[in-house]
Symmetry: none
Subunit: 220 residues, 4 copies
DNA sequence: TATGAATGAGTATTCATTCAT
DNA sequence: CATGAATGAATACTCATTCAT
């Protein structure tokens, strides 16, 4: 019965094959992990399928047993990450938290998310201009979503009198860029980073900018 | 026997043949311009030499008469841009301008520079992770320089009491990211942009962040 | 430990397991039927083992439990058909039927045989030039037999004064080609055909050609 | 200027490059000739591009400089042959020759055409079921044309009282099959053939069938 | 200087086949 | 008997680069 399940990683299998299905899912996962690392390091175009499978000692055919083609593993990888990202974001939005340190909490959450998925953060930045229409669309869609989330957070802040009136659409892009560049820059080298420090500094920048405010304590 | 000038873009050494040398320089320039556009659109890896020459109705061999290889045109392109960038920056640094609106002026200058060279801005963002060591090094060197410039500006501001004390190294990266993401985002679509508005908003963000400052006018 | 029976289609040697053996034979037959259809439709080269097993909801490994390899199923299929064909032919030859309508009866029998096995007729026509030596030899052997049968029929006819003297070897090939092309052409579309009409026309053609015979009725 | 001319073999070149263009055309022709032989021998699917270029000591890339892909060389080859075939046929039809030996002349012309292009005759018979829609359509279109030509010849014969009334559509297919099978059979071995004898026999068969006609001389 | 035909190493992908379960 | 995951050799096609003219 079992049809090809190249399209998705879900258990499309008929029941009773727990052992095999598990093995298969594991193989898929291993390939995906290897691909993530290779894509992040060499870029999608330069990365060879042979690089990916060699990294885990597998035959090239195995890759194609599990994935339709090179593009589909990238798409799947991105889609999963985006779903996870969206989930975290909407969790936060639902909480409608308007505590004074809301922006700090937000910056922290985003920075951690980007940081913990540095490989994907790099891939997204690299492949934003990918020649393939589908890939580009996917990433642009994600970016749009990201910007919109931040923007609606800012809009809320404005409504609550916490944020000054501004072009929130533009500001959202700028804030995302701030975090991205920092994460990309700090993870490029591979050295470990004091993420708490990083987040505190970013939040302060984002909240108050660089200017010395006469008579301002260290508040965020 | 005339010396090949594939290596660098300098004026051809064979003096006295002004006509020919000029022609040649023009051809080089045309190729370089075409390459810039193609690289920006498709990315360096996906861009073919044939794409470049087709864009200007030239034979493929001609490309190799003027440039060593595909990589060297990218390197040369980047190097030239970086030189220009450095010149503008050091001009500005020399002026040691410490007027209160110094940051606005700075942001403006940088944004304009990035915006006027959006193709190169895109290329640099894409190729930051380029598989080729030389290319990567070149871009990272540029980035380091860029960050350092901003950082020393911030340090100066701190010394002058205009900027609050902070991790200026980190802040520099963040500020660069802000501008880059905005420029990349706003030029992606190709629609024209109100750059003055963009700069004003960016400067305000950078100076004062997003928080509502009690009793603050629109000052920058 | 049971002996593999991949080599030939004979009844399994492990006696006493009638149930299992039957099951197995059935599976073999199902695979063979599926293969016949797939080969006819896509051609042997383009047909994949996966196409065959998918058509009957079977795992790919099962194919290789029953058949040595892709080639062997083709060979077996052809051999069986050829045996059946030979049986029908020699039946007919034995009867030494020399009735005046002998050629009509013959044409009918052959046409029906080709028509009822149109899949195999197509496969044989396609694979006559198959790259594989064994396959080619098998088909050529069959063709030779086919031609020879027809030829000896013609020779008999000549001896009996029913058929005019001619190059019977050449004529045999021509007559076979006539039937084949018609069957191939008429079954290509899948539409049902008036086989009686087809046979009558073919027999007439074969007997009397296209020329108007002065004062000839519709005789065959 | 010169755009890629992979699509057709015509001189798409700008003027003044007679030497190079000639060379190119020759290379194209050599590749096409090699491809014809290889396709005829191994069949289109089994034939490798590497087989083709190896046969003439060329690099594989050269093939792709001259032809879009493997399929396009087959299509081009067939199209050219079909055009030539159509030209010969319509020449003949125009002459409206109604001499008593018209059918003989016709059979001769067709047989010679098929025989002189035995490679293509084989390819057409093999690839009639090719998996590729375009190829199949092309060949079926040719076959339809071929049948139609013969059929209209027969219809004319009927009108002139030279041919007996019959299902001319069916008869056309049968006559084509007769010639094809004979040509295919006689060229398979590679031995040279007495084509005059072959044609005479075929014409006789086609005109009068196999039956002994009481009181008939050797007339055609 | 410029051309474009020719090159060949490199890459994604397919598919018959094997084998552990 | 049956399964389906894994294999790896084979192949069409691409593209940076060379070179004779």
């Amino acid at each position: 019965m079992a049809v090809t399940n190249k399209e998705n990683g879900a258990e499309t299998r008929t029941a009773g094959n727990g052992r095999a299905a598990l093995r298969k899912a594991e193989t898929r996962a291993r390939i995906k992990a290897a691909a993530r690392a290779v894509f992040a390091e060499k870029g999608y175009e330069k990365a060879n399928v042979s690089d990916i499978v060699r990294a885990i000692g597998m035959a090239q055919g195995t890759f194609y047993y599990h994935f339709q083609d090179k593009k589909s593993i990238l798409m799947e990888m991105l889609n999963e990450y985006f779903d996870q990202f969206r989930a975290v974001m909407s969790d936060w939005m639902q909480s409608e938290d308007a505590a004074p340190d809301v922006t700090y909490i937000f910056a922290r959450r985003v920075a951690v998310l980007l940081y913990e998925n540095k490989d994907l953060t790099h891939i997204i930045m690299q492949e934003a201009h990918n020649a393939d229409e589908d890939v580009r669309r996917l990433i642009h869609g994600f970016n749009r979503f990201f910007y919109e989330q931040v923007r609606s957070g800012l809009d809320l802040g404005v409504a609550l009198g916490l944020v000054r009136p501004m072009d929130t659409r533009l500001a959202a892009v700028a804030l995302v860029g701030m975090i991205r560049e920092v994460v990309a820059n700090r993870t490029r080298s591979g050295e470990d980073i004091d993420i708490e420090h990083l987040i505190r500094e970013l939040a302060e920048l984002q909240n108050h900018g660089i200017r010395l405010r006469p008579g301002a304590g260290n508040n965020f």
